[in-house]
Amino acid sequence: MRRRDEAGTAAKAVEARGLVKVYEGRRDRQVRALDGIDVSSNQGEYLVLLGPSGCGKTTLLRTIAGLERPTEGEVYIGGQLVNGLPPRIRRVAMVLQSYALYPHKTVHSNIEFPLKAENVPRHLRERKIRWAADLLGIPDLLGRRPRQLSGGERQRVALARALVREPAVFLLDEPLSGLDAKLRATTRDELKRFQRQIGTATIYVTHDQEEAMGLGDRVAVLDAGRLRQVGTPRDIYDEPADTFVATFVGSPPMNLVQRANRLVGFRPEHLLPAENVAYDSRVTMPLRIERIEYLSGDRHVYGTVTKIGTETRVIARLPATVITPLAPGETHEFAVPGDRLRFFDAEYGIRTAPVRIGG
């Protein structure tokens, strides 16, 4: 790959500053798809934009690509301001959710199209097509047309078409959503290896937290056009910045119990029968068990906790190593290690400093 560190190592691969995108709806109704986004991705980094559908993550990606113009704010690619530039000059490659292969062209011509657009001479074109096809394992498909391909094959062709441009940054919009569940798992792994191999900065949009946590070097969580948190998957999971991130990431989501003007949060896997939690600094609470699910060895215990705050329904995930006998209808003493508790403002949902909970 070409080195693109002319502007110094400090230059981010992509940087968005104060991006706002307003769509004019009918009857002067405005939709703020992006509501002041600041985010940047480093060279060679895998950044995942995660959020529920309609949160603006695709709009953000399209704005970076140059398919949408921002209402306010700036986009920098490789340290250069690219506002107002068409996608062609931004040196970005994007794989759209539908893959958008040209239906009238063969796989070969599909991959060749961006090279022709750049007036690459024929022999170089052929070499690049071959290189991309080999890398993605599709040399046998070059003569086919898109409608003769399976979903997974189409995705590879779309990737190859993006790859031959040697872009400064890859933009992937839910590239796995068109695949069935089985293929998704294997393709996810391949995508990651592929990016490691290429070493190009990649921004990946998804609503699937498993994909996000599995693929991303860093994850940016978006909701309603705003950035909620950016961090490593571990940060996002362990140190959520607010209740949205806390409940959107993790399955089952984080339990939140209201206590005065605070919400006390703890992950289901940290809520265990009290005898399984080290004695020092644990917080105990009685759990009235309503239902137990056995899921691949784990026990998911549904019940209601009292004492530490308002009576709230919670979920506890007990690994197979915890063998405490439990039955619906009983009340059992459960506990959470004190350092696993997270605290949020009850009104705004923002993370706050820990509060002492006696017991």
Binding site: R62, A65, G66, L67, P86, P87, R88, V92, A93, M94, L96, Q97, S98, Y99, A100, L101, Y102, P103, H104, F113, P114, K116, A117, E118, R147, R161, A162, R165
Partner: protein
């Protein structure tokens, strides 16, 4: 047991049987179209080999008499050539202008509704009436076009532009192009809408400039639907008699007659049904060509998907 069967029979009413319904629903249309299109078509062929006239309309076999009358008619040969030229020129212009207009109609414009309503005028107005308006615009002394032509000294002497061979022919082509471009635009716009929008984005992302997007992506993808627009244009232009009848009346000196107006002139006004039918039969080859092109376009459209 017989009771059960009777009840079961009761339940599968005639209205539940798909085979019956399909026939019952299609039959009226098939009967109607057979009676008033297929049968009259046969009758036209029969008339072409007859010596029937409007004074003696009952059928009398006349062999090739009708065709001989037509072939001996100078106006026929001229109108045949005129019809072909008119159609070809119109189709080319309509397809090109229609494609441009289709893109404009899809563009995000202020006043979009107004523009579209105005653009629809030529297509929705009864042809004969737009021909009247065109004649008013072109014809009489003091009309804008007449004044412009005179100002550019392209028109000398008295009389209206429509009284001259060249300008009259141009006027007929212009009226047809004007009338059918909106229709072609609507058809092509529909074809553009049918292309998944991701493809346009992909082409921009792939770095293709305007011309490459146009000829590498847009044109190939809308080729089938453009062919449909061309067939419609050809079919409508080839068989139209309203424009010529109202705008030029076939004149001056029968120089703008087309096959349909000639068939009317000979068969209805001239009273020679045999000759009129024979002349109109020459419309058939284009109809068949149109059918072939249409079928091919359909098949191509299928092949792409």
């Amino acid at each position: 047991m017989s009771g059960t069967r009777a009840r079961a029979g009761d339940r599968t009413r005639l209205t539940d049987r798909e085979g019956f319904l399909a026939w019952a629903f299609l039959l009226p249309t098939i009967v109607y179209l057979t009676a008033l299109v297929v049968a009259p078509f046969g009758l036209t062929v029969a008339f072409a080999f007859s010596r029937s006239t409007s004074d003696a309309p009952s059928y009398r076999f006349g062999g090739l008499r009708g065709f001989r009358a037509v072939f001996g008619d100078d106006v026929f040969w001229r109108s045949l050539l005129d019809t072909l030229t008119l159609t070809c020129v119109s189709v080319v212009l309509v397809v090109v202008l229609g494609t441009v207009l289709a893109h404009v109609l899809r563009a995000d414009l202020r006043f979009r509704r107004t523009v579209r309503t105005l653009v629809l005028l030529p297509w929705t107005t009864p042809v004969a009436l737009s021909a009247i308006s065109w004649r008013w615009l072109l014809g009489p002394a003091g009309s804008p076009v007449e004044r412009v032509l005179r100002g550019a000294s392209l028109l000398h002497g008295g009389g209206s532009p429509l009284g001259r061979t060249g300008p009259a022919a141009v006027a007929v082509v212009a009226a047809h192009v004007w009338r059918l471009t909106p229709l072609a635009a609507v058809i092509v716009a529909a074809g553009l809408n049918a292309v998944p929008s991701g493809v346009w984005d992909a082409a921009r992302l792939d770095g293709a400039g305007f011309w490459r997007r146009l000829f590498g992506v847009t044109v190939p993808l809308t080729l089938p639907v453009t062919a449909v627009a061309a067939v419609f244009t050809a079919a409508i232009t080839f068989v139209d008699m309203a424009v010529v009848r109202v705008l030029t009346g076939g004149g001056p000196h029968d120089s703008t007659q087309v096959l349909p107006t000639l068939a009317y002139l000979r068969g209805v006004e001239g009273g020679d049904i045999g000759a009129g039918a024979a002349a109109s039969l020459f419309l058939l080859p284009l109809f068949l060509a149109g059918v072939v092109v249409a079928l091919r376009a359909v098949r191509r459209a299928e092949a792409i998907r």
